[in-house]
């Protein structure tokens, strides 16, 4: 189908984008990579009054290492994140996850900021930023605000960002020396949205998880920390029993939604299987390091 009528403004500066967002309120909609917004327009699932295109606004892109923090501008395209040496070295979880984000042509346009602003429950980047304890930086005409990833994802496509706020950058602490990370996902076709998946960051010593974060996506309405599964594993020597305990605990952590990607029961099963695989892989990676 064809997009409905709308007005289009190409913002020249960040300030102009912020002013437009403020003036237009719910009627204004940011156009970043367009890889999620354009499909909803073409299918007439959304009808914004005005698109505010931020593709030509300078200073919203780029990946830099600042001390122990990697700063990623909101307009950084998936392809740049996937090819970044800084990401490969300091945020291997994200490097691994990027292989699952969409297809080649979609990655050439889609942005990390768009992905986190949208908060699709099956998207990879929201899970990664939650697993890594990132900070999301938003800005409005009234100023800048930092939101911890834990406080940012509220529900299905719902975030702590206000309608007049622009997501401007993502600040991610580098993965600590000695930590390992594992990213696993199951999708119907490579690059499609996940049926189930998880992001795992761990500190392992003597086959024992000393510290662990497991963030699940694709099954819940938002990226979700598996607190029960984590508690079942931390401090115990990794074993088949331990794996089973984690899987059992997960049933209380998750409340999967049934959707086109699978039933709730299947998703819970897949998440349990992925948990075992991810923890096995973490032990193996820690051993190899």
């Amino acid at each position: 189908m064809k997009a409905p009528k709308f007005n289009y403004i190409k913002a020249e500066t960040r300030q102009q984008a912020l002013e437009l967002l403020d003036q237009l309120g719910e009627e204004g909609r940011i156009l970043a990579g367009g890889q999620s917004l354009m499909p909803t327009l073409n299918m007439r699932l959304s009808q914004p009054g005005t698109l505010i295109d931020i593709n030509k606004v300078s200073g919203l892109g780029g990946i830099t290492l600042e001390g122990n923090v990697v700063r990623i501008g909101a307009m950084t395209r998936h392809v740049e994140v996937a090819n970044s040496p800084i990401i490969a070295e300091h945020l291997p979880l994200i490097a691994e996850a990027m292989q699952h984000v969409a297809h080649h042509a979609v990655r050439n346009r889609g942005t990390i900021g768009g992905s986190i602003a949208l908060a699709d429950p099956a998207a990879e980047m929201p899970a990664c930023v939650l697993a890594l304890g990132a900070t999301l930086v938003v800005e409005s005409v009234k100023g800048r605000r930092e939101i911890a990833a834990e406080d940012y994802f509220k529900g299905l496509y719902e975030t702590a960002r206000e309608a007049n706020e622009l997501l401007v950058e993502i600040l991610i602490p580098v993965e600590k020396l000695g930590d390992v990370s594992v990213f696993l996902e199951l999708a119907q076709r490579h690059g499609d949205f996940a049926m189930a998946g998880l992001a795992c960051v761990a500190r392992v010593s003597n086959k024992t998880f000393e510290d662990l974060r497991l963030v699940y996506f694709g099954s819940e309405d938002k990226p979700t920390l598996g607190t029960g599964a984590i508690a079942a594993v931390v401090g115990r020597t990794w074993s088949a029993d331990c794996k089973e305990a984690a899987a059992n605990a997960l049933a209380n952590d998750l409340d999967p939604m049934t959707n086109l990607q699978g039933s709730a029961a299947m998703k819970l099963h897949l998440q349990k299987v992925l948990t075992g695989r991810a923890l096995d892989a973490a032990i193996e990676r820690a051993g190899a390091a």
Binding site: M1, K2, A3, P4, K5, F6, N7, Y8, K10, L31, G34, Q35, M38, P39, L41, N42, M43, L51, D53, N55, V79, A102, H103, H104, A105, V106, N108, R109, R189, H190, G191
Partner: protein, 161 residues
């Protein structure tokens, strides 16, 4: 609401073009309906099938997910342009030889996407070729012949240096 329009200037297949377009028109409708470049196809119009793939400033994109007004100032190349410059003549020949198209609907998108692997050819596995083409649907061939044609072209280019 009135139809909002804007004037854009861009290069399409080497030719400088200035036109006024509705802001809601996507790039492929502009290329097909305004300029007559019907090589870019529309399958799903929501980003899933890849039939609409075009090259914008050296990167392959979904032509149905980009507005024509966003191509203002850009260099756009369609399968017609790629054919004219001879850039993918060997790939096209191998598609024909290997029978890598049947109805041909997906073919322009496949060619443009595969062309990215040919710029600076490196040895790639069939798995990697499939990964690279994973965003392009073909409802006829079953993909095997397409992967064959791409693989043959890459290997030939590597051999010839």
């Amino acid at each position: 609401m009135n139809e909002a329009t804007l004037e854009i200037s861009l290069t399409v297949n080497g030719e400088q073009i200035t036109k006024t377009v509705p802001v809601r028109q996507h790039l492929v409708d502009f290329l097909r309906n305004e300029l007559g470049f019907t090589g870019s196809h529309l399958g799903c119009e929501h980003g899933v099938c890849g039939a609409c793939s075009v090259r914008v400033d050296d990167a392959v994109v979904r032509g149905c997910l980009m507005l024509a007004v966003q191509a203002d100032g850009a260099n756009v190349v369609t399968v017609e342009g790629l054919t004219e410059t001879g850039e993918i003549a060997d790939l096209q020949k191998n598609f024909v030889e290997r029978n890598a198209m049947q109805c041909g609907y997906c073919t322009p998108g496949m060619l443009i996407t595969a062309a990215e692997l040919l710029h600076d050819p490196k040895p790639v596995s069939r798995e990697e070729i499939r990964g690279h083409l994973s965003g392009n649907f073909c409802r006829c061939t079953g993909y095997h012949a397409i992967v064959d044609a791409v693989e043959t072209t890459i290997n030939k280019r590597l051999e010839e240096g």
